[in-house]
């Protein structure tokens, strides 16, 4: 990995306007976003971090005890360099409600909020969280209050969901069925649209029979009261998507040195390239390293065994076995990092060591921030692997 291009995190933190942390589920997106935000704020920038479903203790450490959908100042940040940090947790339902309020008068909005189809869509549609994260990012950016916005992305199996889900929701709300259901009258006359009209009739019949008449009424009301807004959803999604292509925006893809996470990262990298979106680089998180790479796995295990046979050196035997396990992990991690690197040689990379404990306070975030900024050289585990 000697030729791996290093990722200059401090450089990024001092110039970027938006940093988006993406990656597969559970790899450390939220932790990385929070660590970057703390570091940038302590280096003097005015920062907002938008987190999504952070672990409870991490949220508490940033003062995020309630989900009120607006950024709040984080206590305990060193502000001597002139920066500060605000943090928020995304409330997707509330963000959705806000969009409705913007587009509809109060009476209509209330009607929409009470509709069971709206409730269902706003709290559990598969792409709602991603859509609302993008929406919120757009709002924060427009507010103009912060030099830098660091964005965490929703826990999803695939990193691509963040890019695709908002448009999926936009397309759905702007889709054929909605148009058919809103415009059966307008369809009259033209033969090919007649098929739709028949379809609508079958649809409503079946719905009536299996869900009851009230459901159909609710659905029609929902669609009718939403009608003016549908096109808008797609437009908004398209707009925020454009924001992601602007020069001040950078993506970081977070991964752990495991097959599935690296495969997701590879998809993501390729997608950004295809869409000409700016990838700053990859954060390879939870990497194992050893401080004694020259004491090989085989040698350690053999030594442990000989101690067992002789008896009496239980602790040292244990320590040797531990070392063997650790070095084996480090070697495996380094090999996976190397494989990723040779498939994507232009992707800049920084590695963060696997910490012994969970990361759940500002000091923990500072430590991660330090590693991100170069505490652990990108090639360390490779060297460690010997």
């Amino acid at each position: 990995m000697s030729d791996v291009l290093p990722l200059d995190v401090d450089g990024l933190l001092s110039t970027a306007e938006i940093i988006v942390c993406c990656g597969a589920g559970g790899v450390g997106k939220t932790t990385t976003a929070a660590a970057l935000a703390v570091r940038a704020a302590e280096q003097g920038r005015t920062v907002c971090v938008l987190t999504i479903d952070p672990a409870r203790r991490l949220a508490q450490s940033m003062g995020l005890t309630e989900l009120d959908n607006t950024p709040r100042a984080v206590d305990g940040i060193d502000e001597t360099a002139g920066g500060r940090l605000d943090a928020m947790m995304l409330d997707m339902k509330r963000t959705f409600d806000d969009i409705v309020l913007q587009h509809a008068d109060e009476a209509r909005a209330r009607q929409i909020f009470a509709n069971p189809f709206y409730l269902s869509l706003s709290s559990s549609f598969a792409g709602t969280q991603e859509y609302m994260a993008m929406e919120k990012l757009g709002q924060l950016k427009t507010a103009g209050t912060w030099d830098l916005i660091v964005v965490d992305t929703p826990p999803s199996r695939s990193a691509l969901d963040f890019l695709d889900a908002p448009q999926r929701l936009g397309r759905f709300l702007d889709g054929r069925m909605i148009r058919i259901l809103t415009a059966p009258a307008r369809a009259g006359g033209r033969a090919y649209l007649k098929v739709f009209t028949i379809g609508v009739k079958v649809f409503t019949d079946v719905l009536n029979r299996i869900l009851g008449a009230q459901a159909l009424k609710d659905l029609s009301l929902f669609i009718a009261s939403f009608e003016t807004m549908f096109g808008g959803f797609r437009e908004r999604a398209d707009q925020t998507y454009k924001l992601l292509k602007e020069p001040g925006t950078s993506f970081l893809v977070v991964a752990v040195p495991e097959r599935d996470a690296l495969r997701e990262a590879a998809y993501f990298v390729e997608r950004l390239e295809a869409d000409q979106m700016p990838l700053a680089g990859m954060v390879l998180n939870r990497v194992h390293a050893s401080g004694a790479p020259s004491l090989s796995v085989e040698r350690s295990l053999a030594a442990a065994e000989s101690l067992d046979e002789a008896g009496g050196e239980e602790l040292t035997a244990a320590v040797l076995r531990l070392h063997a396990e650790r070095l084996a992990s480090a070697t495996r991690d380094a090999r996976r990092a190397e494989q990723f690197h040779s498939a994507h040689p232009k992707v800049r990379m920084v590695q963060v060591a696997a910490q012994a404990g969970d990361v759940h306070d500002l000091d923990g975030l500072r430590a991660i921030g330090g590693e991100l900024a170069g505490g652990l050289a990108a090639s360390a585990p490779a060297a460690a692997a010997g």
Binding site: L211, L315, T316, L322
Partner: protein, 326 residues
């Protein structure tokens, strides 16, 4: 003796990536052992079961995927909400053609997208159908059904079909179906098992999940602690190692006795590794105590090298049996 003798439907949930699919498949093997017939189902259109058993993608059709120890068979079914609805329309209303037309139009996809509760009741409805079959002629009879369910974050909502559907369908057959599903899920014929690993977030999700299930009137079953590692440090040295005050002289003497060159740097590096490990062990101990406080039966599965192969699944199945889960 099994901890869940009356249970016909085993639901397996847990945080993403903790081993739900692996454990569900192993549980199905354990339940089938000795000549029984078990159906393993999935509902997320991910073909996780086919991947695990290394078979071609499963159609919407019960297929045999494995044979259990001492005879017994595991069948698998990937439930698709659209096809489940078509089946339902045809079976109860003779509406096959209407159903096919709606599907072509994208109407079913639309309805289940805009109302995920509807999708869930179709999925759980099919699981219920398989779990409650009575006579031959209505399909294969199973001794038990295992559901590889959505993750903990969504499980209470997924299973609480009644509440989710109540607002959408106040009457009619779907409502009725939701009521029957709910009755089965709340009965002692159903257990909802949660898989976790000994880390902060999955354990927290398990605790939250148990509370949520209980408050929805659903029964949490076993907690499966997956991918456990044995502590390598002897108990008496654990506290010192965690505090970073391991007896370096002892390690140095040991290394010399084993003929390993014991430079100060090597000794310090090994001690640092021991500290990381010991701290991890202590954290895991805390997580175990948190799980124990739930007062649900706990089953332990070690980190295996062959968990994604048939041999590993049989191994986990045997462990679940030995610990009395099955």
């Amino acid at each position: 003796m099994s901890d869940f003798p009356a249970v016909k439907l085993h639901v397996v949930s847990g945080k993403g990536g903790t081993g739900k699919t692996t454990v569900a498949a192993s549980l199905a093997l354990a339940l089938a052992a000795g000549g029984r017939q078990v159906l393993l189902t999935e509902v997320e259109a991910r073909q996780g079961i086919a991947q695990l058993f290394d078979t071609p993608p499963l159609p919407y059709e019960e297929r045999r995927v494995a044979v259990a120890r001492g005879g017994g068979e595991v069948y698998a079914l990937a439930i698709d909400p659209e096809l489940a609805l078509l089946e339902y329309l045809e079976k109860f209303y003779n509406l096959r053609r209407a159903g096919a037309m709606l599907r072509k139009l994208g109407a079913i996809d639309f309805a289940t997208t805009i109302a995920p509760g509807l999708r869930d009741v179709l999925l759980t409805g099919k699981v219920m159908e398989a779990a409650t079959r009575e006579r031959r002629g209505g399909g294969r009879l199973y001794d038990a059904v295992v559901l590889d369910a959505p993750p903990t974050g969504r499980i209470a909502k997924f299973l609480n079909v009644n509440t989710e559907v109540a607002a959408l369908a106040r009457m009619g057959p779907v409502r009725h179906q939701a009521d029957s599903v709910m009755a089965l899920l709340r009965s002692n014929k159903t257990a909802i098992h949660l898989v976790t690993v000994l880390e902060e977030m999955p354990v927290q999700e398990t605790v939250d999940g148990v509370a949520e299930l209980r408050s929805s009137g659903l029964r949490p079953g076993g907690v499966i602690v997956n991918m456990m590692r044995d502590p390598l440090i002897p108990d008496h040295a654990l506290a010192d190692a965690a505090a970073g005050v391991l007896d370096l002289a002892e390690v140095e003497t040991g290394l010399k006795a084993a003929g390993v060159e014991a430079t100060a740097a090597t000794v310090a590096a090994l001690a640092a590794e021991a500290t990381d490990h010991a701290q991890r062990v202590q954290l895991e101990q805390q997580e175990r105590e948190t799980l124990a406080a739930l007062e649900q039966p706990i089953y332990k599965i070690p980190l295996l090298t062959d968990a994604s192969e048939l041999s590993g699944l049989h191994d986990i199945a045997k462990r679940l049996q030995d610990q009395g889960m099955v």
